[in-house]
């Protein structure tokens, strides 16, 4: 063999090459199987459970068989042998020339211990099966009926392995190639020069490699569930064709196996009721399992003998088309030397004839770890199970290297194996967390070159832009505001206000204009009351009685005015607006009348623009009976502009504050009022005999009381006030050092003052009208209060 073939790419390589020059796969194993002895030690079940070691040992065994070509007669019973025979007759012929292969069973099948007694608790029909099988294989061993038939099988295998290895048919080490030829390339058997069939019964195909500890490697009693898992799978796969009562079941009943028939009981139970496989069972189940028609009810009568059952099983084996299912891992595959299995395997329908299950698209590289009941083994099609297309791991390639050396003479066949990829069933066994179907690495040319940052210039740098720079939707909903009900209500109110501002107010034409009847009624009542008092009043008498009591503030005031010196003029300040003339004409008239009665000169001044005219009007009305002469009896200083400052200035220096006068007589034209006979001696405010301020507002009264008081000296300050201004002026009057020496407030006090003065004035003349109006006002207010209170009481009851 000048060259060896790569197990991965199947291309020829030099003989001494350790790695494939084409794909780089290792051609020689790194680990030389040192477990050969242990692998052959069938009594050590623990070591035999290492299926990888067994694979290695089997490869070594096949290599040895190549060197010592001893035909194994039992190889004909191997299902793999039949599989190859189905693919090509050359292989079968070569296998026959090489002799029967050594009976080698998988270690997981070989659980028989040499020490165990063989005549205990073994069903007789199984013992007969074994004996018949051994007879068929050459009768090399004594028929033994072990306690566990599997253990007996294992012991049998071990015994055979202990014998010198028979020469294997050449070029059969590449069992993968043979498998491929027998399965995927079955249509073209002539293109593949198959080596002679060798004993591969001990070498499990890749598809048959148990995914975990072979359940049969240990004592079946200890792990009955695992031992029967494959049976369950088998039963489930074949369940559609198996009737509830199978010959095996019937045979098991007849044989009365007892305790050792647990696996058959499980098988029976599984046949009757296909169990729901757990996830582990599914994983351990071979990826493809062809349903086998085990319906033997036609061939085997209900009360058949063991021989009849055996024959029926053989017939079943013949019906099992196993050539196209090399990847199936069934317990019968390990029992390839059992003849009664072969008919059942031969009975299995071909791939095209298998019952159609609803198939789901399953990726070749990403098989589902969990199958549902429908997508169990049959879901994986034959194409996926084709060994030619299965991707083998590198370590398996290493195992293949010795076999490749033996198959150098094979023609170069370009297999369809994809390098460095895992088969589907092996990928399915991988942990799902670390599962990746494939890693696509872009070529260096396609990889972008980093342009910025410390990694600038490097190729293949992980790009941060997709994470950072590319706009993406924010994970946190920041546009949503977390507002309270109150805030929402305030926002709505603000929004409504803004809308109202923009909305044009339309004229409410539909609104009926209501006549102010009630207002007219009240006005009419007041007018009628006043007119009635005026009309009904007679001279010298009043409709309403005059007040008989003199207010307590009026006596001092009257006494003050009555005691004023006549040589000093009295300054009368007219600081009320024209609207108050109706009240102040009557109130001020009484004190003016009193001054005129005493022939006291009067000088007037005002801080109001209209004040001088009001002064002229009041003096004209009051002095009509006294024949007052302007410039002699009274004089108008006029308007004092400047507010409080002017009042202070006037108080400090009257002559400097007012430089002219108002309505000065003709003899004083071009002169000031200060040159008149009345004011000739007045230099300051204290030179006046009295200062009387007639005002309707509190401000003017306060200004005069505060600003003029420092310059008043002994001159009294009298306030003639409206009724509304009295409360604010009274503190100046009632103080310990009063700044106001007398107060005359309102028409009632004016009437009293007039009565005290005993001179007719305007106060008593307006007394009837004032009282009539007051009565109307009192009545209206009383009616309003009653009306409002009634509504107040009744309206809540209505609601």
């Amino acid at each position: 063999m000048p060259e060896q073939r790569c197990p991965m790419c199947s291309k020829p390589n030099p003989e001494n090459a350790e790695e494939c020059i084409h794909c780089g796969a290792r051609l020689k194993p790194l680990i030389i199987s040192s477990d050969e002895s242990t692998g052959r030690d069938g009594g050590q079940s623990a070591e035999s459970s290492d299926w990888l070691s067994r694979i290695r040992s089997d490869v070594q065994a096949s290599q040895q068989a190549e060197e010592e070509p001893e035909s194994e007669p039992a190889a004909e019973n191997d299902w793999l042998g039949r599989l190859r025979s189905a693919s090509g007759e050359e292989e079968a012929q070569e296998a026959e020339e090489a002799g029967p292969p050594s009976e080698s069973f998988p270690d997981w099948v070989d659980t028989r211990s040499p020490d165990e007694s063989i005549d205990e608790k073994v069903p007789q029909w199984l013992a007969r099966i074994r004996s018949k099988e051994k007879k068929k294989a050459g009768g090399e061993q004594e028929p033994a009926v072990p306690d566990d038939w599997l253990q007996s099988l294992r012991q049998k295998t071990d015994d055979e392995e202990a014998q010198p290895v028979q020469p294997e048919p050449a070029k059969d080490e590449d069992w993968l190639t043979s498998l491929r030829a027998s399965t995927g390339e079955e249509d073209e058997p002539s293109e593949i020069p198959e080596p002679p069939v060798q004993d591969l019964g001990d070498v499990l195909p890749l598809d048959e490699i148990p995914p975990a500890e072979p359940p049969m490697a240990s004592t079946p009693r200890e792990e009955p569930e695992e031992d029967t898992a494959w049976l369950s799978a088998f039963e489930e796969a074949a369940g559609q064709a198996i009737e509830p009562a199978t010959p095996i079941e019937q045979a098991s009943r007849d044989a009365d196996i007892g305790d050792d028939d647990s696996w058959l009981s499980d098988f029976e139970a599984a046949t009757e009721e296909p169990p729901e496989e757990s996830e582990e069972d599914i994983i351990e189940t071979p990826p493809a399992f062809q349903p086998i028609d085990l319906d033997l009810t036609d061939e085997v009568p209900e009360e058949a003998s063991e021989d009849e059952i055996f024959e029926a099983l053989e017939a079943l084996d013949e019906r099992q088309p196993i050539a196209d299912k090399p990847s199936m891992e069934t317990p019968f595959e390990g029992l390839d030397d059992v003849e009664w299995i072969e008919p059942a395997q031969a009975q299995a329908p071909p791939a095209e004839e298998k019952p159609s299950y609803p198939e789901e698209p399953v990726s070749q590289h990403t098989p589902p770890l969990i199958f549902d009941d429908r997508s169990q083994p049959t879901e994986i099609d034959s194409q996926e199970l084709n060994m030619a297309e299965l991707d083998l791991p590198e370590w398996l390639g290493d195992l293949q290297k010795p076999s490749v050396e033996a198959s150098e003479e094979k023609p170069a066949v370009d297999p369809d194996l994809a390098p460095a990829t895992l088969p589907a069933w092996l990928e399915a066994m991988r942990p799902i967390e670390t599962f990746r179907s494939s890693v696509e690495i872009e070529p260096d040319v396609d990889q972008s070159v980093e342009s910025t940052g410390p990694l600038a210039g490097l190729r293949g740098v992980l790009m941060a832009e997709p994470v950072v720079a590319i706009p993406h939707q924010a994970s946190v909903g920041s546009g949503r505001l977390d507002i309270s009900e109150r805030q929402y209500a305030q926002a709505e109110l603000l929004h409504r206000m803004v809308d109202d501002e923009e909305r044009q107010v339309s004229l409410d034409s539909k609104r009926r204009r209501r006549l102010p009847v009630f207002r007219w009624v009240i006005s009419a009542l007041m007018i009628l009351a006043i007119l009635f008092s005026i009309v009904s009043a007679s001279p010298g008498s009043t409709m309403f009685a005059l007040p008989e009591r003199v207010p307590q503030d009026l006596g001092p005031l009257f006494a003050l005015v009555d005691g004023l010196p006549t040589e000093k003029p009295v300054l009368v300040v007219f600081d009320y607006p024209p609207g108050y003339t109706g009240e102040f004409d009557a109130v001020a008239s009484v004190i003016l009348e009193h001054l005129m009665r005493r022939d006291i000169s009067i000088a007037t001044v005002s801080t109001q623009v209209t004040g001088p005219m009001l002064a002229e009007r009041a003096l004209a009305r009051a002095g009509s009976d006294h024949d007052l002469v302007n410039g002699t009896d009274y004089i108008h200083l006029g308007y004092l502009s400047g507010g409080p400052t002017a009042v202070q200035l006037f108080a400090a220096a009257p002559r400097e504050a007012i430089l002219s006068g108002f309505l000065l007589p003709e003899e004083l034209s071009g002169e000031t009022a200060w040159v008149s006979s009345i004011l000739r001696d007045v230099q300051r405010l204290s030179d006046f005999g009295m200062v009387a301020v007639i005002t309707a507002g509190t401000d003017n009264a306060r200004i005069w009381a505060e600003q003029a008081n420092p310059w008043m000296g002994e001159t009294p300050l009298v306030m003639v006030l409206s009724a509304g201004a009295e409360p604010l002026v009274r503190p100046y009057y009632e103080a310990l050092e009063p700044q106001v020496d007398g107060i005359l407030t309102g028409l009632p006090e004016a009437v009293a003052y007039e009565q005290m003065n005993a001179r007719p004035a305007d106060a008593i003349a307006r007394w009837d009208g004032f009282n009539a109006g007051m009565l109307v006002v009192e009545a209206v207010l009383l009616a309003g209060m009653v009306y409002g209170l009634i509504q107040w009481i009744l309206k809540p009851r209505r609601s």
Binding site: G579, T610, L728
Partner: protein
């Protein structure tokens, strides 16, 4: 503190205020004369301010007339009256008979009528106040007004009776205790506010004359 022209104004304001204030405490002819001079200036400035006020009033109403705002005819009447009074006042002077008659026969009746209308309006408000504002303050307000009116007004019957005397005493109690107490509080507040405002101006804390 930045240096600038406003320091001049501030110093002038503080100095004038101190001089006027000192006139209340120091009986000095110099200070009094200086104080009076300053006050005359203030009066003149106030008169000038009155003229500015009149000019502002005229311009506002002129704008209303020119822009045809709502109620512009009233503004037109005001301007017309203003110009007529101004012309007549400038022609004849304020104490002319024409001006006195204008006042006596135009201005005085108008303002007196407004006061009469005010009385009617107040009476209407008093009638509705209990119906519109149903709270304790309204009841107290209208009740107090009614008691004062009853005690002040005439009595058709029972004149000088003990009941009238009783209402008279109630009226005096309201006006001289409650109203006078409130008025004193107001006056005290005004006085304190005036003092503080004057001190702030004197200390240049407030500069109403600008920067």
């Amino acid at each position: 503190m930045k240096l600038g022209p406003y320091l001049i104004w501030t110093a002038a304001a503080v100095a004038i205020g101190c001089v006027v204030l000192l006139g209340y405490f120091v009986d000095s002819q110099l200070i009094l004369s200086l104080r009076l001079a300053l006050m005359r200036w203030a009066v003149l400035i106030a008169a000038a301010a009155l003229l500015l006020g009149l000019w502002n009033l005229l311009s506002v109403h002129w704008t209303k007339v020119s822009e045809q705002y709502q109620g512009w005819p009233y503004s037109a009447i005001l301007i017309l009256a203003f110009l007529v009074t101004l012309v007549l006042g400038l022609m004849y002077g304020p104490d002319n008979t024409v001006m006195v008659n204008i006042f006596n026969y135009v201005q005085l009746p108008i303002e007196a009528s407004l006061m009469a209308i005010l009385a009617i309006s107040l009476l209407m408000a008093g009638f509705r106040i209990v119906r519109v504002r149903r709270d304790l303050s309204s009841v107290v307000f209208i009740g107090t007004a009614f008691i004062i009116l009853v005690a002040t007004g005439p009595w058709l019957i029972g004149q000088d009776s003990s009941l009238q005397i009783f209402f008279g005493q109630i009226r005096n109690w309201f006006s001289q205790v409650w109203a006078a107490g409130g008025a004193r509080g107001i006056l005290l507040g005004v006085a304190l506010g005036s003092i503080v405002t004057g001190l702030r101006v004197l200390l240049a804390a407030d500069r109403p004359y600008g920067e």
